[in-house]
C-alpha cells in the first residue's frame, strides 16, 4: 500500500451487510445507530449498529440519493422520479431525482429533479417549486441557517430562497457544476466541476477564485467544521485548501497521498479535525490534515468503494461499495 505508514491503525467494521447493487449514497441517522444506503437496484437499505437490516423503500429504478433529517426522518430519491419519506413513496416528476436535502432544522426537504427544485414538508406535502433553471440540477446545498438553497447546474450555482424557492442570485460560472459545499459558517461556497477545477465564492463579497490542475472532474468536497480547510478530490490525491488569513489565494495546497484509484467521497468528521477519504481502490483512510500527511487509520474492502458518511458524533464511518457492500466502521482509533 503506497503511502501507508506502519503505524496506521487497521480499522474494523462494527456492522456489515450487503445491498443488491452498487451503493450510490449513504446517510447516518442523527442518533448514530442506523445507516441508510441508496443502491442502483432502487432499494433503500437500513443497517443498524446491531447488524439488523431492513429495506425502507424500493424505487422502481436506481436510487440516487438518501438523507436523514435532524429529527430522524429518512428521505430518498430515484431515477423513477419518486421520493420516499419514511418509506412512503410518491411520484413527483417524470425526470430522475438527482438529490434530496433536508433543511438543517429538518422541517423542509428540498428535491432536485431535471431542471427544477421543489420543497416538501416533513409529512411529504408539496410546498414550493422553483422556476425552470437553465440546465439539469446536479447538486443541492442548504445554507447552514436554512435561509437559502444553492442548486448547481451547467452555467453556475443558482441561489434560491428557502421559503418559496424564488431566485435569490446567480453565481454565474461558465462550466458544469457537479458538486457544491457551503462552509459551515455560511461565508463561502465551493463547487467542483466537470472540467477538473474547483471554484470558490465569498458569499458576502461575491468575490471568486478558481483552482485548476486536478487530474479528473471534481465531485468530492468537504469543509472542516471550523471552515479552515476544504478537502477536495478530483483524482487519487486529496487536495486541501487552507482558508486561514487571506488564503487560499496564492497558497500551496496540502496534498495527501495514500490511494491508488480515484477518490469517491471525502468527509470531515463533525466537530473534529479528522478527515475520511474513500476511493475506488477499496480503501477508506483517516487523516489529520495540517498535522500529519500519513493516514491515521485504514479500512479495506475487496471491492471499489463508492461513498461514505460520518455519524454525527464523528466516531463511526459508513462506507458503501460498487458490489453493494455496506459497512459501519469504528473510526475513532486512539490517537
Amino acid at each position: 500500500m503506497p503511502g501507508l505508514s506502519a503505524t496506521a491503525n487497521v480499522l474494523s467494521p462494527v456492522a456489515q451487510t450487503q445491498a443488491a447493487d452498487w451503493v450510490d449514497a449513504l446517510a447516518f441517522s442523527p442518533t448514530g445507530d442506523t445507516v441508510a444506503a441508496a443502491a442502483a437496484d432502487g432499494s433503500i437499505t437500513v443497517l443498524g449498529l446491531d447488524g439488523a437490516t431492513r429495506i425502507a423503500a424500493r424505487h422502481e429504478h436506481a436510487a440516487t440519493t438518501v438523507a436523514f433529517s435532524s429529527s430522524g426522518q429518512l428521505a430518498s430519491g430515484g431515477q423513477d422520479g419518486q421520493i420516499a419519506i419514511d418509506g412512503v413513496l410518491q411520484k413527483i416528476a417524470s425526470e430522475w431525482v438527482a438529490r434530496v436535502a433536508w433543511r438543517p432544522d429538518g422541517a423542509l426537504l428540498a428535491v432536485a429533479y431535471g431542471r427544477r427544485v421543489s420543497t416538501y414538508d416533513a409529512g411529504g406535502a408539496h410546498q414550493a417549486t422553483s422556476g425552470e433553471l437553465p440546465a439539469t440540477v446536479a447538486c443541492l446545498g442548504w445554507h447552514p441557517r436554512g435561509v437559502q438553497l444553492a442548486a448547481g447546474t451547467y452555467g453556475g450555482v443558482q441561489l434560491l430562497r428557502g421559503n418559496g424557492l424564488a431566485r435569490d442570485g446567480l453565481l454565474a460560472w461558465k462550466g458544469s457544476v457537479l458538486e457544491l459545499a457551503i462552509s459551515p459558517n455560511g461565508r463561502r461556497l465551493a463547487h467542483g466541476n466537470q472540467d477538473a477545477s474547483v471554484h470558490f465564492w465569498d458569499l458576502r463579497k461575491r468575490s471568486e477564485l478558481e483552482m485548476w490542475g486536478y487530474a479528473r472532474k471534481v465531485r468530492q468536497l468537504a469543509w472542516r467544521h471550523d471552515a479552515r480547510y476544504l478537502a477536495t478530490g478530483g483524482g487519487d490525491e486529496v487536495t486541501l485548501w487552507d482558508f486561514a488569513g487571506r488564503g487560499p489565494e496564492g497558497t500551496r495546497p496540502i496534498t495527501l497521498e495514500g490511494h491508488d484509484e480515484p477518490l469517491a467521497w471525502l468527509g470531515f468528521a463533525p466537530a473534529s479535525r479528522r478527515l475520511a477519504s474513500v476511493a475506488g481502490d477499496g480503501r477508506a483512510l483517516l487523516w489529520l490534515p495540517g498535522e500529519t500527511v500519513q493516514p491515521l487509520g485504514a479500512f479495506e474492502l475487496g471491492d471499489p468503494l463508492t461513498c461514505g458518511a460520518w455519524s454525527h458524533d464523528g466516531r463511526l464511518l459508513a462506507v458503501g461499495s460498487a458490489g453493494g457492500a455496506i459497512a459501519i466502521i469504528d473510526a475513532d482509533p486512539a490517537t
Binding site: A20, D21, W22, D24, A40, D41, E60, H61, A62, T64, Q79, D80, G81, S94, E95, W96, G114, A135, T136, A138, Y154, W173, K174, G175, S176, N193, Q194, D195, S197, A215, R216, K217, E261, P262, G280, D281, G282, G302, P304, A322, G323, G324
Partner: protein
C-alpha cells in the same frame, strides 16, 4: 486492485435526419436475435426511467468545457446517464445512442474522449448515419447538418433505396463518397441492415486498417492541362483562341525527356510555383523556361504570346485551364503547329464544390516525428473546428512500429501499434471536414518528411 470496469462497453452513435429510418433500425436491433444485451438512449422526450426494453430517454444538454477549447463541447446528459447506467450490476453488451435529427454528432463523440469516467468505462465503437435515399439530395442542398452527419460516419446506411432509380442511387452514392471517403456504405430497404454491420464496426479502433477510397488519394493540382514539347532555340508563338477568363496562368519548365516519370518529377515544383504570385505579362512580354509563373491577359477574339526558348530540349507547359477550353496551339518559329510529345488533362480541383469533403494523403517515406507533431498541433489549433474526423497510419523515422492515430475536431489520440515488418513503410492519412484545403494539407504533410 482489479477494476470492475476493465472490460469497456462499446457504444454506437446513430445519427440521421427525421424520416431516415432510425426508429425502424432501432426496433430491428432490439427485436432481432443477436444474443446481445443492448441499452438504447433516445433523445426526444426528456430524462425518464429505464423501462423493461432498456430504453432511456434523454434530453440533449450540450456542455461547453470551460477550458478555452471551443471544440470541446460534450453531452452533459450522456455523462449523467451513462455514469449511472454503468453502475448497474446487470451490465450491457452494447450501448446505442440515438441523436436527434438535426444533431451535430461532434459533442456526442467528444463526450467519450473528454470525460474521464466515460473513457474508463466505455469505448466508442462507431458512428452510424442513416440516410433517406429519396430525400438525400434535398437535404444535402438545404441542410448543412446532413453533410456533417455523413462526414462523421463510420458506416453509412443508404436506406429506402427502393424509392429511387438505380442511376440516381449511383449518383447519390458518389455524393456520399465525396463527403466521406472511408465509411462503409450499405444500400438497404426498410432499414434492413444486419446488426453486425452497425454494431462492432471498430470505427474508433486504432488498430484497424485504414482503407481510403483511391480517388481521394489523387492529389489535386492548380492546373488543368500540361503538354511536353521538344523545342529548339527560338521564338515560338502560343495562340489562345478563347478567353474564358480575363487572364490565364502559364508555367514553362525544362525536363530531361518527355516521359510520364519525368512529368511526375516536375509536378511538385509546378504545384508550388502555381501558389506563388504570377508575373503579369505586358503586351511585349514573353514566357520563358523557369522564369516563374506568368499571367497572360486574354483578349476576346484570340491572344498570341511569345514563348522564348534559348536551349534545345524538352519543356513542359502547365496551363491553368484545359487546352481545348483555351483553344491552345503552339506555333514554331516557322509558323507550323508543334504537337506536344505528351499531354495530360488534369481533373479540376473540386474542393470548393462541396464545403464538406475528404482529403486522403498517401506518401512513402519516413516522417520526422517532432515536425509532424508540431504541424498537426498547429493544424488542429487553427482548423480543428472544421476537421470532423481524422485517421492515419504513419511511418515515423526511428520507430519500428506503425504509429496509428485518430482525432475528432481538436481531440487527438495516437500510439505505436504493431511493427511494420515486411510491409512497406507508407504514411496514410485522411481528413474529413469542412473547407479542407487539399494543397495546404499535402504541402504541410510533405514538409514533415524526414
Amino acid at each position: 486492485m482489479s477494476n470492475p470496469s476493465a472490460q469497456k462497453t462499446p457504444v454506437t452513435v446513430l445519427t440521421g435526419f427525421l424520416g431516415s429510418g432510425k426508429t425502424t433500425l432501432l426496433n430491428r436491433i432490439l427485436t432481432e436475435q443477436h444474443g446481445l444485451k443492448i441499452a438504447v438512449i433516445e433523445n426526444e422526450y426528456g430524462e425518464v426511467g429505464i423501462d423493461n426494453d432498456l430504453i432511456i430517454d434523454a434530453e440533449e444538454e450540450i456542455f461547453e468545457m470551460n477550458n478555452g477549447c471551443i471544440c470541446c463541447t460534450v453531452r452533459g446528459d450522456l455523462i449523467r446517464i451513462l455514469g449511472t447506467l454503468m453502475r448497474r450490476k446487470e451490465r450491457f453488451d452494447h450501448i446505442l445512442i440515438e441523436t436527434t435529427g438535426l444533431a451535430d454528432p461532434g459533442p456526442v463523440i467528444q463526450t467519450f474522449f473528454v470525460d474521464d469516467e466515460m473513457q474508463q468505462m466505455l469505448s466508442l465503437d462507431g458512428v452510424i448515419t442513416l440516410v433517406d435515399a429519396a430525400h438525400l439530395a434535398l437535404h444535402l442542398d438545404d441542410a448543412p447538418e446532413a453533410s456533417e452527419q455523413i462526414a462523421f460516419a463510420d458506416v453509412i446506411v443508404l436506406n429506402k433505396v427502393d424509392l429511387v432509380d438505380p442511376g440516381t442511387l449511383d449518383t447519390l452514392e458518389q455524393r456520399v463518397r465525396a463527403l466521406n471517403g472511408v465509411a462503409g456504405i450499405h444500400r438497404v430497404q426498410q432499414a434492413a441492415v444486419p446488426v453486425e454491420k452497425v454494431v462492432g464496426v471498430g470505427g474508433f479502433d486504432l488498430a484497424r486498417g485504414l482503407e481510403i477510397e483511391p480517388e481521394l488519394l489523387t492529389p489535386s493540382y492548380p492546373f488543368e492541362w500540361l503538354g511536353a514539347y521538344k523545342l529548339r532555340p527560338g521564338s515560338y508563338t502560343l495562340v489562345l483562341g478563347a478567353a474564358p477568363d480575363p487572364a490565364v496562368n502559364l508555367l514553362l519548365l525544362p525536363m530531361p525527356a518527355a516521359t510520364d516519370a519525368d512529368i511526375d518529377a516536375v509536378l511538385r515544383e509546378a504545384t508550388i510555383t502555381f501558389s506563388t504570385d504570377p508575373l503579369t505579362l505586358g503586351s511585349d512580354g514573353a514566357v520563358s523556361a523557369s522564369a516563374g509563373l506568368a499571367s497572360v491577359p486574354l483578349r476576346t477574339g484570340g491572344t498570341s504570346v511569345t514563348l522564348r526558348v534559348s536551349d534545345p530540349g524538352t519543356y513542359v507547359l502547365f496551363c491553368e485551364h484545359g487546352a481545348e477550353e483555351l483553344e491552345l496551339a503552339l506555333l514554331d518559329p516557322n509558323g507550323v503547329e508543334a504537337a506536344p510529345a505528351l499531354s495530360r488533362q488534369i481533373a479540376p480541383d473540386h474542393e470548393h464544390d462541396e464545403a464538406v469533403g475528404s482529403v486522403g494523403i498517401t506518401e512513402a517515406g519516413e516522417l520526422h516525428g517532432e515536425r509532424f507533431n508540431a504541424w498537426l498541433s498547429k493544424l488542429l489549433q487553427e482548423k480543428g473546428q472544421d476537421i470532423f474526423r481524422m485517421k492515419g497510419v504513419l511511418a515515423i523515422d526511428g520507430l519500428a512500429e506503425r504509429f496509428v492515430f485518430q482525432g475528432v475536431h481538436m481531440l487527438f489520440d495516437g500510439r505505436p501499434d504493431r511493427p511494420w515488418g515486411q510491409e512497406e513503410r507508407t504514411n496514410k492519412l485522411i481528413f474529413i471536414g469542412r473547407n479542407l484545403d487539399r494543397g495546404a494539407l499535402e504541402q504541410g504533410f510533405r514538409a514533415c518528411l524526414a
